[in-house]
Amino acid sequence: MEINCDIKDLSAIIGVSADILGNPADSKLFENQYKKLLDDGIDRIIMDLSNVKRINSTGLAILITGFNMMTECGGVFALAGMNDFVIGALTITKLNHVFQYYDSVADAISEVKVTN
């Protein structure tokens, strides 16, 4: 799994590349990344999941952690570029009713800007 982080228009875009998002060892990595962004004053995160093939329950927990950390600070945590499998996992768990998600990072950036 690889992650990278770009800052655009005061939003952080975290790009994730993984066959399966949800290796237990990755949880801390993401949590630290979220914390660092909050410390830097950035509370709007867009997760670019366009290079994630599948997601398991640990991966969903990684997303929930980000969502909780950002929203508790009044921020935004949005998902973008998910394939059918990842959307399916959100739909089964009904987490699709919790997360904001968009077809692409560009869509997410413009929406996040408008709503904030």
Partner: protein, 393 residues
């Protein structure tokens, strides 16, 4: 030392042998193997093992015929110095004249202490002329570290074993009897303990509850969440109480546990012997209802339990008729992949049940799990798998 290269080759061989030793004979095996592998190089003649016992250390093993005391006091200078230093070479026995172990003045000993969870052990090696302090100290300290690490690891395994026993005790021992129904369930964890659960709640002869759930992640953290959920369900669900209320309350408990990143998907239903079924589905893969000529899902409910401080769940209803089968399962079943990376998927479950619906509930569950296992080329399960079948007969 005869030849440093040869010595370290033997030392490596010894360490690798120590790594293979399993079970309770670790310390006696260590004594024997140290002498067999390195005895001639380190000038070790024999070894003795003492075990802590209240105010004394008792001799429990010796590599040769016994010529050491059966019992040594904890205040014996040899005992105290060995424990204080972890590893100590007594090369001036005249200074130890008050020690029970040095009643013969020509003895030169090396002592090693080992820490168990509730007691200590002392290993003594009797040396013969020609020993060298540096290599002896280095070797015995390394061996001591390995033994201590192995004992800690064994304790950890013991704790995990206890967790496994606790978790198994939470799974139903047998299927409930409900007039007009055949019920069976089975859960196979991918690790020693798992994040899947199923449970039966029996209210009376006419009404039972069935729960199936899947906690996020694997292993011990998931197992602990499962334990909380099983306990919470058993305490929270009561006859004639709105089932969504109990699950919404359970959600608050899970969320407040500060593990709100953890969640559990949960399907819960109550069945009456007349065939009425009430359910709510908190983000769990929908069970399948096989009617004679159609297949129905159980979509009504809400979000998984845990991530959000408050959830709203809804109830759904089904009517079961003779011949109907309800199959509940965890995602470990549908996500089981074959060598091509293709998942088992719901379609294969449907196909399987259609062609095996004549089987009893127990046969159906066992056979479906076997089929998924074969589908994955009999590789180890990478996710927990749980299946519960309910047949109206």
């Amino acid at each position: 030392m005869t030849n440093p290269k040869e010595f370290y080759r033997k030392f490596d061989a010894l360490l690798s042998e120590l790594d293979q030793i399993r079970g309770l004979n670790l310390l006696t095996e260590v004594l024997t193997k140290v002498i067999n592998f390195l005895g001639s190089d380190l000038q070790i003649k024999r070894g003795f093992l003492y075990e802590e016992n209240n105010e004394t250390y008792d001799l429990v093993y010796s590599t040769r015929s016994q010529s050491y005391p059966d019992v040594i006091s904890k205040s014996d200078p040899v005992v105290m110095l060995t424990i204080k230093n972890g590893c100590y070479i007594f090369n001036e026995p005249q200074d130890m004249q008050y020690s029970a172990i040095f009643y013969r003045e020509d003895r030169i000993l090396a002592g090693v202490s080992v820490d168990g969870e509730s007691k200590k052990w002392l290993l003594f090696f009797q040396l013969q002329p020609g020993w060298e302090r540096e290599e002896l100290q280095l070797s015995l300290n390394s061996i001591r570290k390995i033994i201590n690490s192995r004992i800690s690891s064994q304790h950890f395994k013991d704790y995990i074993k206890q967790a496994e026993i606790i978790q198994k005790s939470l799974l139903p021992e047998r299927s409930p009897a409900l007039k007009g129904f055949d019920i069976a369930g089975k859960s196979v964890p991918a690790e020693i303990v798992g994040g899947d659960m199923y449970d039966y709640l029996v209210f009376d002869n006419e009404r039972i509850g069935i729960a199936i759930g899947d906690a996020s992640g694997h292993g011990l953290p998931a197992a602990l969440l499962v334990r909380d959920v099983v306990t919470g369900l058993r305490m929270g669900i009561e006859k004639h109480l709105k089932i969504t209320y109990a699950l919404e309350k359970l959600n608050r408990v899970i969320h407040r546990s500060r593990l709100s990143t953890s969640f559990i998907s949960l399907f819960y239903c109550e069945i009456e012997s007349n065939g009425n079924l009430i359910y709510t589905n908190a983000g769990h893969p929908s069970p399948l209802l096989f009617k004679n000529d159609s297949i129905e899902k159980f979509p009504v409910g809400g979000i998984v339990l845990g991530p959000m401080p408050e959830v709203t769940l809804h109830r759904g209803f089904k009517e079961l008729n003779t011949g109907d089968i309800v199959l509940m399962f965890s995602d470990g079943l549908i996500e089981r992949t074959n060598s091509l990376g293709e998942p088992f998927e719901v379609d294969r479950i449907i196909e399987f049940v259609k062609t095996h619906r004549h089987l009893s509930a127990e046969q159906l569950v066992d056979s479906l799990i076997d089929t998924a296992y074969s589908f994955g080329n009999e590789e180890e399960w990478i996710d927990d798998i749980t299946v519960v079948a309910l047949k109206k007969i």
